[in-house]
Subunit: 107 residues, 2 copies
DNA sequence: CATAGATATAACCATATGGTTATATTATAA
DNA sequence: TTATAATATAACCATATGGTTATATCTATG
């Protein structure tokens, strides 16, 4: 995943409320009205968190009657996980710094 | 890791500059003056990013003469990784919701 | 000791974020 | 069709964030 996109996903994970929502969805799909009483926040607040998780592809939604159930996108989580051990190869960047004499040599 | 702390770490990862710094440190330890020319930002900006990565335990620092070299804390990364598949058990939360009749039953 | 280089900190500013209340929108039920 | 429940969106506000410039701190060197 490209760095900017990956940062957006980490930013989405970087909020205690959203992180707990993800832990809850890991247990079972939920709709907004179920999540509301867990967090002491308004309905629009939860709704906005869910949109944020949706646009970053961390959850998917399924309408069931008047409810919208959100599910954890486990494959996205797996993708994030692997991105933490497969960083982009930036050796080219260091080669350029080397050529420009911008690398510190000490010891 | 407790949710609030974990969110702080994800927040630290949730910035393109810091994420690229981490990818660079994955290749080799760096000091602030080496990172500066890579990003088109000021020295204090890089310095603040490094402090942020330091307080979240994502990097460690070692002074070598007038330079401070930052290293990636790989065990912290591993910890983050495992936190993405070991969420806290929140079944108790659902039990309470169940008792209060706050869970939606449909289908 | 005085100077210079590398890094950190302070103070400031524009934008992003996470909450709120008010108001759509959508789907079920009367 | 009208009323109600669930969700989404709009508009707003206080705080966090990421940048800046100016300045302090720390280390090596003349």
């Amino acid at each position: 995943m490209e760095i900017k996109k990956l940062a957006d996903v980490f930013k989405a994970l970087g909020d205690p409320t959203r992180l707990k929502i993800i832990a809850l969805l890991n247990y079972r799909d939920c709709c907004v009205c179920e999540l509301m009483p867990i967090f002491n926040v308004s309905q629009p607040s939860i709704s906005k968190h869910m949109q944020r998780l949706k646009v970053t592809d961390l959850v998917t939604e399924t309408r069931k009657g008047q409810w919208v159930f959100y599910s954890l996108n486990r494959s996205k989580l797996a993708e994030i996980q692997s991105s933490l051990e497969n960083f982009p190869d930036l050796s080219e960047t260091f080669k350029e710094l080397e050529e420009k004499g911008l690398l510190v040599s000490c010891d």
